[in-house]
């Protein structure tokens, strides 16, 4: 079937699901029916996305509209295909997750209704064929996500988090509108296909300005540093599946926007544009993971990790643009492929991790890592699933994160092919930044998995967590998808290479898979790697020695002794690492970034602290909020104060305004 | 780094050759006493027993029982009766049985009560 047909089915399904749950006022049956419909619609979106990936762009459908809002035009593109497939997968997983997670009630009814509409709006963004459709869909996504985040309006931090999201979303929207307006004006068309065809007519200055506006505008949504501050504010307050949706998909829409401008709408630009993108990505990745190291709240931690991964994706896109500028077409297409693959991978395991964070919060009542511990015994299935997601996001073989990171690194390492020494060095510097990020990511996720799940429970809530009744099917599906994306990497790369071929016009496939299961990074003389063989090898290398040992075990008497624990008499949970002490070395090494402040209060002056507790507090300075946003906010407030006299509340003054405007319009019309 | 290396070369080897060759510092080590059986009578023995701060000495009828395991080589017995107790110079005192460290020294039979 045509990809667009699948998309229609998906959108219809989601609309029906929203209607069901709103009409049913959030009754349990209504929730179940709506989630079932949502899951089916998600499967349809997945099929549509895969179909778009494989078969390429569909034709443009004009679906009406009006003079006021413009025409509604839809097209299933191959670039949007992977995003649509991801959307479908996320929708199915959350559909399986939601009935067990949410409690029935009118609040849930509204929430799920809004959620399904948001899914349909995201699909509209991906299938938009003209500027107006895109912008309307984009803004709908933003407003619907605002409502999603505001699920519990009673809590004060919910309002703050949602407001951060909306404010930065709108700021980005203004820039995106500006970018589209420039392109539409210079190419005299609103249809994206035609803009792409005529983009070479746009003068270089306007073209670069449009791209920079798009990079910044979409960067707000994607979470590029310093435009990222809404992510750690909004994610903790949204419900688990809302955060999963935000991080797994909505942030990816920002990446989609950047890819849209960089690869589809605009022709290959000068190298500095790509350099800027790559630098933004590399900085984002490093700063994202550094801030993730210092978070105790599970969801804030995962939010910063999302920022890190956005950085990786944008670095790949930026490097692709540089290679394109130097006419290395194979690497240009290859890095786009690598970036898109990472989008799919990250969407999968980040959604999984957020859903599991929700399960943990549900089971224990807290998101604070320092109040958890030993959950692997209380929540075994969730722990295994979370471990799969953690291995994926820490980019460890044989899972999918490793494959896409390998692809990105191999693309970056071929910077020497540009022929320019300076560019080659800068690309390698970006690769070094990604290497630092990767190492810190492993550190961060050892902490993120080890502190809550391993060790001893630190509080009664952790001790009494129960697995019964927790949603498992949704996250389990995502875990299986992680494994599938890894082992089935050749298939995914094949599909993506077809998509990338449609977008860039470069046929990667002959250069990409010479054998059956081996991947080579765009050039045969560089390196090769087989994810499938690697997975098989890793399994064999663990299983075979175990089998040999079991078969040929020495028959001598052996003594079983307890684990050496340092000779301790009793272990107390407080003797374990806490989340902050585990990450203390980074605070020491990177103190120029963190500027930690320490406050220490003793109950008495006794230097040994014998007669009372000692209060120790350490805080990381929020650099961006304090030095970038606060001045901007104050400037805006100052400007607003300046303009306030206009709003005097006096009706006579308002009538005068109307009169003055009429005279002005008349004069302008007469001229 | 070079300075340290050169300084080391100038000083030469400082490691001892023990146990292949005797160590030069062994001579100055405080060591447990050796008792003169031909001089020790009961009175002297009692005096030594009283003087020993570690209770390493004990008299049982006509035998002075000396527990090497308790001796700290403080030298007070030697100060109290220099003709009866002199430093032995023995520092290689490791034993594979606790009993090997308990020595019985016979006292002079012709003691005045």
């Amino acid at each position: 079937m045509n990809a667009l047909t699948w998309f229609y089915l998906a959108a219809a399904g989601w609309g029906l699901a929203a209607a069901t749950v709103l009409a049913g006022r959030g009754a349990q049956l209504a929730i179940r029916v709506a989630c079932a419909l949502s899951g089916l619609a998600g499967a349809a979106a997945l099929a549509g996305g895969a179909s778009a990936l494989w078969w390429g762009d569909s034709r443009v459908i004009t679906a009406g509209g009006s003079v006021v809002v413009g025409t509604l035009q839809l097209q299933a593109t191959s670039l949007g295909g992977i995003f649509a497939a991801l959307l479908g997968l996320v929708a199915v997983a959350i559909a399986a997750f939601a009935p067990r997670y949410h409690q029935a009630g009118p609040g849930t009814g509204i929430y799920l209704g809004v959620f399904n509409l948001a899914l349909a709006a995201c699909l509209a963004v991906l299938a938009a064929a003209n500027v107006v459709t895109f912008l309307v869909a984009w803004e709908s996504v933003a407003l619907l996500c605002y409502l999603l985040i505001l699920r519990n309006p009673g809590r004060p931090e919910a309002a703050a988090g949602a407001f951060w999201f909306l404010a930065l979303s709108e700021a980005g929207f203004v820039l995106v509108v500006a970018a589209f307006v420039i392109l539409a004006a210079k190419t005299h068309t609103m249809q994206l296909d035609l803009i792409a065809a005529r983009a070479h007519l746009v003068p270089a200055g306007w073209r670069d300005a449009a791209y920079l506006l798009a990079l910044t505008g979409f960067g707000f949504k994607a979470g590029l540093v310093p435009l990222h501050v809404w992510l750690p504010e909004a994610h903790p307050v949204a419900p688990a599946d809302g955060s999963a949706f935000l991080s797994g998909l909505v942030v990816k829409l920002g990446a989609y926007g950047i890819a849209l401008f960089a690869f589809r709408l605009l022709p290959v630009g000068p190298a500095w544009v790509g350099l800027l993108t790559m630098a933004a990505g590399a900085v984002t990745a490093a700063i994202g993971i550094l801030y993730a190291m210092n978070e105790r709240d599970l969801k804030r931690f995962l939010a910063y990790s999302t920022i890190e991964n956005t950085g990786i994706i944008v670095t790949a896109f930026g490097a692709a643009m540089i290679f394109g500028a130097y006419r290395q077409r194979a690497l240009w297409a290859f890095l786009l492929l690598a970036g898109l693959y990472h989008v799919a991978n990250h969407g999968t395991y980040k959604t999984l991790l957020f859903l599991e964070a929700g399960v943990v919060e549900h089971a224990t009542g807290t998101r604070d890592m320092d109040r958890l511990g030993g959950l692997i015994h209380r929540l075994p299935r969730s722990a295994v699933i979370t471990l799969v997601g953690t291995l994926g996001i820490a980019t460890l073989p044989p899972l999918n994160g490793f494959v896409s990171e390998w692809l990105i690194f191999q693309g970056l390492f071929q910077g020497f092919r540009t022929g320019s020494h300076l560019i080659g060095i800068l690309i390698v510097v970006a690769a070094a930044a990604l290497g630092l990020t990767g190492g810190l990511a492993i550190y961060a996720f050892v902490r993120g998995f080890g502190i809550p799940f391993l060790g001893m429970p630190r509080t009664r809530q952790a001790r009494e967590a129960a697995e019964h009744g927790q949603p498992v099917a949704g996250p389990a599906l995502l875990a299986v998808s992680c494994a599938a994306l890894a082992v089935g990497a050749p298939l995914v790369i094949l599909a993506l290479s077809r998509a990338v071929g449609t977008v860039t016009g470069v046929a990667l496939r002959p250069v990409l898979l010479p054998g059956n299961l081996t991947v080579i990074p765009a050039h045969t003389d560089f390196s090769a790697f087989s994810p499938t063989y690697l997975a098989v090898f890793l399994v064999a290398v663990t299983v075979v020695p175990v089998l040999i040992y079991l078969a040929g075990r020495p028959r001598a008497d052996s003594v079983t002794a307890s684990v050496w624990d340092g000779g301790m008499v009793t272990f107390k949970p407080r003797m374990q690492y806490s989340a902050m002490t585990f990450s203390a070395p980074t605070r020491v090494t990177f103190d120029a970034l963190y500027r930690p402040s320490v406050s220490l209060h003793r109950a008495s002056d006794d230097p040994a602290g014998r007669s009372g507790p000692v209060h120790y507090e350490t805080e990381v300075t929020p650099v961006f909020e304090r030095y970038l946003y606060r001045p901007v906010i104050r400037a805006v407030e100052w400007l607003a104060d300046l303009v306030r006299p206009i709003q005097s509340g006096d009706v006579n003054l308002y009538l005068f305004y109307v009169f003055a405007m009429i005279i002005l319009a008349y004069l302008l019309g007469a001229l | 780094m070079t300075l340290w290396f050169l300084r080391g070369l100038r000083r030469g080897v400082v490691t001892t050759w023990y146990p292949a060759r005797p160590d030069s510092s062994a001579a100055s080590l405080p060591t447990p006493p050796v008792f003169r059986a031909d001089v020790l009578d009961r009175a002297t023995a009692d005096r030594l027993v009283e003087v020993c701060p570690s209770r390493a000495l004990r008299r049982e009828s006509d035998t002075l029982i000396f527990d090497l395991g308790a001796c700290t080589a403080c030298g007070r017995c030697q100060d109290a009766a220099p003709e009866a107790a002199t430093p032995s110079g023995e520092f290689e005192l490791a034993a594979t049985s606790r009993a090997h460290l308990v020595k019985r020294i016979p006292l002079l039979r012709e003691a005045r009560s």
Partner: protein
């Protein structure tokens, strides 16, 4: 498990002396035990990993033990090494009078060492020469662990420690059993 001497209860009076003096019955036992100990000890001749254990000492013995790693004594040249992990250790070097608060830790350390293993009681406290058994301490390490080699001294000098370790792995012969510490005439400053 170690086939050390049967656990002599490290008491300062009588019992050890009696055991040494009594008849040939325990002597034969002693010989067999010694032979077995030598066979085990000879496994470690040039590669011995030592784990020190302080059961409440004043740390003077520890200072002497630490000097073993310094350039002058340098135990590494003899194939002896310190290790903090009992799982990796062959020999347990115990100091201190075995305070009762340390019972569990001492037992756990001993059990964490894989066999064959050797226990060396170091210093007068560990030999039972300083403190009596009371509510706070056992007074002697042989109360809580089966000791193979005793090194007297307060503290034993690093040379004495080296000799003790080498006796424990059968590279040097034990001297003290044959010494009487009794002289019949004036002694020169030369040891017996």
């Amino acid at each position: 498990m170690t086939a050390s001497n049967p656990s002599i209860r490290g008491q300062r009076d009588g019992a050890s002396a009696q055991a040494a003096e009594s008849g040939s019955g325990t002597d034969a036992e002693q010989k067999a035990a010694d032979q077995l100990r030598q066979r085990i000890a000879s496994q470690f001749r040039r590669s011995l990993h030592i784990r020190t254990l302080d059961t409440g000492s004043c740390a003077a013995c520890e200072q002497e033990i630490r000097l073993l790693a310094a350039p002058h004594y340098d135990l590494h040249r003899l194939g002896l090494f310190f290790t903090p992990a009992p799982r990796h250790a062959d020999l347990l070097m115990v100091t201190g009078p075995a305070i009762r608060a340390f019972d569990v830790a001492a037992r756990k350390t001993y059990e964490a060492m894989p066999g064959p293993k050797i226990v060396v009681a170091t210093g007068a406290c560990a030999l039972g020469g300083v403190y009596p058994s009371d509510a706070f301490m056992h007074g002697s390490v042989s109360e809580i662990l089966p000791v193979d080699v005793w090194i007297p001294g307060c503290p034993p000098s690093p040379l004495a420690l080296l000799q003790g370790l080498l006796v424990a792995v059968d590279r040097l012969a034990e001297k003290v059993a044959d010494l009487t510490f009794a002289a019949d005439g004036p002694t020169v400053e030369v040891p017996e």
